[in-house]
Symmetry: C2
């Protein structure tokens, strides 16, 4: 089954410098997961044009969709649109529909937009506008440029993600009474025999009723089941505390 893939690039000095907790990355993880989209990378980088351009060029080549978060406002630290333009080898051009939106917004608040506000309409040539015409999502090639304020990021990601259709992930977990050391070789064998199933092993070191959760995941529930059963067959009796899903 075809699986859509994505990466998310949070442009955020404020996150790296501990001024703000990142809300957009965790939100994107959840939404993309619900849409059956495999997230391949989540990067938080400073507001520096050359770093962002380099990451955009690199990451977008590996995935179906690259989402950027932040850096689309009118101030000097808003460099995402210019960085994406640079990464794609496209000029920045003033988008007339965005200009009209900005003028309308300022007119409602009783004035003309200053030049700084109009800079928000300078986007990579070929940028498409999707969703709400008054607050459109901006996309160019496979790069979707989302705003940083979390309430706006959510609105726009939700709007864009609603159009992405990828089959849901099917996942199951085994909760084990054994430490990882004691089943690592068996699990390695199962992972090699089932390369189409993502298998993860997550130990815990507290007073829970299990020592490790082993997760099995694919788009096809039957394959998950086959891999899980192969692993159970290799475990000593009593090793499985319980199972969950799919």
């Amino acid at each position: 089954m075809e699986t859509l893939t994505a990466a998310v690039l949070v442009v955020g000095n404020e996150v790296l410098s501990a001024k703000r907790a990142d809300q957009n990355g965790p939100y994107a993880i959840r939404v993309l997961r619900e849409r059956g989209v495999r997230l391949e990378a989540l990067l938080t980088l400073p507001d520096r044009l050359e770093l962002i351009a380099e990451a955009v060029a690199r990451e977008r080549a590996r995935v179906d969709w690259l989402f950027t978060a932040g850096g689309v406002g009118p101030t000097h630290d808003d460099v995402t649109l210019a960085a994406v333009a640079h990464a794609l080898g496209r000029p920045l051009v003033r988008h007339e529909r965005l200009v009209a939106n900005i003028r309308r917004w300022h007119a409602r608040h009783g004035g003309e937009p200053p030049e700084a506000a109009l800079r928000m309409a300078d986007v990579p040539e070929g940028t498409r506008l999707a969703g709400d015409p008054g607050f459109p999502v901006m996309a160019v090639e496979n790069v979707v440029m989302l705003p940083g304020p979390p309430e706006f990021f959510r609105l726009q990601l939700d709007a864009f993600a609603a159009e992405l259709a990828s089959p849901p992930f099917r996942a199951a977990s085994l909760f084990l009474a054994l430490g990882e050391d004691h089943f690592a070789a068996a699990l390695d064998g199962v992972a090699r025999a089932h390369p189409d199933v993502d298998i993860g092993s997550y130990p815990r070191f507290d007073e829970a009723d299990h020592r490790v959760e082993v997760t099995f995941e694919a788009k096809d529930a039957a394959r998950v089941e086959v891999a899980l059963r192969a692993f159970v067959a290799a475990l000593p009796e009593g090793a499985v505390v319980r199972r969950h899903g799919p």
Copy 2:
């Protein structure tokens, strides 16, 4: 003033696939900030050797210290040590002190370690062990390889970071009644005139008493003050709701 820099690479299928919220990245942000270390990137990548090796090689070249989180256990999805070895062009070698630790741990729990457990002692050649001899921090060149379980990540990061001494950041904020459009040009001028001060502009769209927080930050409080005052001088009367710091 010299500023130490760092990057953090979270190795985490479980984070990208929404199985676990990342606790290590946010913790590292806070600890590095408190130590005066500038965090240049926070990356979350899947448990894939070639992706991690590429990121390690790239990111460690830009910073003083690269911290990895996770992927150091005994199972098939633990590929960080091999990826770091690959990135540095070093072979994996079995470290005798780590072997002794693993043997001691298993002896306390009444047994011999299986071969899978000993794989945790296969580290990039030249790996140094720091801190608690029974649970040492592993570092090679400028790459520090930390465990993924949050309780262990914190212990080891705290131990390592205690040795990092960089002057503290000095930050101040202005809370403004104006929207960004109306001061973007003035702030751009101040940012250009004070390239040694990091200036950020963070709008909000709720019912707070201000519309934007503008932050000024450097290692030298006097420079922060000069840049902040230059900006205040360019603002219309009544624009500043209040100021905070340094």
